[in-house]
């Protein structure tokens, strides 16, 4: 473990830029902390914290100078690995036929550095890896982008009210899948990052940066900060045996009850870092001689999602909410070996109706809701 002064952290970012990486990290925009390209430490949300509750998100002021003193914002890293809109192929008419050019032809994806990715989101990336790279078909675009990603994880020290990563075994400490991981220690007269490598690429950057060894006290503080983080997370979801419970309760009256509140606005699926549903759109240009196929994000909450010839499989909101929850916490396990939820809390924060997935699970389990 190494220690670096916050004022020197830029060196690590510079080392990545030298290696051709585009830096991505949290920035403040439109009263939220989103993810976008950054060049500099100055672009990060220094002294910003956040306040999250069901259907509520607001930024707050910190005074300890922390760069990462907040929890998950509305944007997840899937925006870059699984972009909202990509062109899968273009086609051109010729005579009675046509020729096809794959979208991936001649496309060179950028090298991306994810600066400040949290444990929950790292787990979410691993979950999407299973969907797109580990099944019988591989998404070549996802694979190409993914292998060019460098991650600097941040162990959470300021989890939000809607976080429940501890219940999902997905945080607040990142324990694998990163190139570098840092714990930020700000306040009490110092501002340092305790850094650990998680891969050969990460080690290489650290060696180059020639950082000093962390002291016992620093290590202890870092551990402590993360432990306090975990302890401060009060929201819980009981996942033991949950897939089976969901399978046995597909007609539970709670589905009807939550459907009365749910607007099927699809916010939850957009902010969720693991949701992967997409739609394929085929179109032509105005002359009709050129065509393209695009893939765009889709949501099981939309009315057209389950349309079939002559009708619709899930016309009711009740069925669509049930589909989302039972997929994420039940069917996902059959499909991919893990649950599809990392406890980041975004769906709770960004639901305009304030629906809380952990409460819904409580009700289905028969525990009632802890108010």
């Amino acid at each position: 473990m190494r220690t670096i002064e916050s004022s020197d952290f830029q060196r690590i970012l510079d080392a990545l830029v030298t290696r051709g990486y585009t830096l991505l990290g949290p920035v403040v925009r439109d009263s939220a902390i989103v993810i976008d390209e950054i060049r500099d430490m100055k672009d990060l949300p220094r002294n910003f914290g956040d306040h999250q509750e069901p259907s509520h998100y607001s930024l707050s002021q910190r005074n300890d100078g922390a760069y990462f003193g907040f929890a998950a914002g509305p944007v997840a890293w899937k925006k870059y690995l699984f972009p909202p809109r990509v062109t899968l192929f273009t086609a051109q008419r010729s005579g009675k036929g046509f020729s096809v050019t794959p979208g991936i032809d001649g496309w060179s994806p950028r090298k991306l550095a994810f600066v400040g990715i949290r444990a929950c989101d790292l787990n979410a990336v691993a979950i999407q890896d299973r969907v797109f790279s580990a099944q019988e078909f591989v998404d070549p675009m996802y694979a190409a982008i993914r292998e060019r990603v460098f991650t600097i994880a941040v162990h959470c020290t300021a989890p939000g009210e809607t976080c429940f990563c501890t219940s999902m075994g997905a945080g607040p400490k990142a324990d694998h899948g990163f190139d570098l991981a840092v714990t930020e220690l700000a306040g009490e007269g110092r501002h340092i990052f305790v850094v650990e490598p998680g891969s050969a690429a990460g080690s290489e950057i650290l060696e180059e940066a020639a950082l000093r060894e962390s002291t016992e006290e620093e290590l202890h503080c870092a551990e402590d900060a993360v432990e306090r983080s975990a302890a401060s997370i009060s929201k819980r979801m009981e996942i033991d045996g949950l897939p089976q419970i969901l399978r046995e309760n597909l007609e539970h009256p709670e589905w009807e009850a939550v459907a009365k509140r749910c607007l099927a606005c699809a916010n939850c699926t957009m902010v969720c870092p693991t949701c992967f549903c997409s739609a394929v759109e085929d179109s032509t240009d105005l002359e009709g001689t050129g065509a393209q196929r695009q893939r765009r994000w889709d949501s099981c909450f939309t009315m057209s999602f389950a349309r079939v010839a002559g009708g619709n499989i899930r016309p009711s909101i009740r069925a669509r909410y049930r589909q989302w929850l039972t997929h994420k916490l039940g069917n996902w396990v059959d499909q991919f070996g893990t649950m599809g939820c990392v406890g980041c809390g975004r769906c709770i924060t960004w639901c305009p109706a304030g629906i809380d997935i952990t409460d819904e699970v409580d009700v289905i389990r028969g525990n009632g809701v802890h108010v």
């Binding site: 002559g310 009708g311 619709n312 016309p315």
Partner: protein, 159 residues
């Protein structure tokens, strides 16, 4: 046809499966063997309903005349099945015409005869009704499925 033969044939027909011997005698008393050639009508819509047929072989189509839309056939009845229960329910009239689409061999049971026996012996009557109820239930289930027009292009699932 010999009574003995009739009895044998009736015993084998699925509709009367498990019917006690003494009840079978009752049925034989109302029964006669009949045959229809391909292309003839067994009954016409609106006729007085006085027969109940147990089909042995061949195929009969139930049809109705839809005026401008012509003749529509909505059901066939085949071997091992029964045709006609309007003999049991007032006003005792056929709701459909029955047309033989092949040569048909059947046992015809006289409706009035059966009705009298049902009224005289309620146990027998109940058994007959139970068997008919089963046939009607299956027929209703099947008809509902036909009504859903599942193969139709406009077969919409309500949404």
């Amino acid at each position: 046809m010999e009574i003995e033969n009739l009895g044998k044939i009736l015993r084998q027909h699925p509709f009367l499966e498990g019917l006690p011997e003494h009840d079978l005698e009752v049925v034989i008393g109302c029964a006669s063997s009949v045959r229809f050639t391909d292309g003839t009508y067994l009954m016409h819509e609106g006729d007085v309903a006085n027969k109940f047929y147990l089909i042995r072989s061949g195929r009969i189509a139930l049809e109705t005349d839809l005026n401008a839309r012509g003749t529509m056939r909505i059901q066939t009845v085949g071997p091992g099945e029964v045709l006609g229960w309007s003999w049991l329910i007032s006003p005792f009239r056929w709701h459909f015409s029955a047309f033989a689409v092949s040569d048909v061999l059947a046992i015809a049971l006289d409706g009035e005869c059966l009705r009298r026996k049902c009224e005289n012996d309620h146990d027998f009557g109940f058994d007959m009704l139970r068997r008919l109820a089963q046939v009607m239930e299956r027929r209703l289930e099947a008809t509902r499925m036909q009504l859903l027009d599942l193969y139709g292009t406009d077969a919409k699932v309500p949404s």
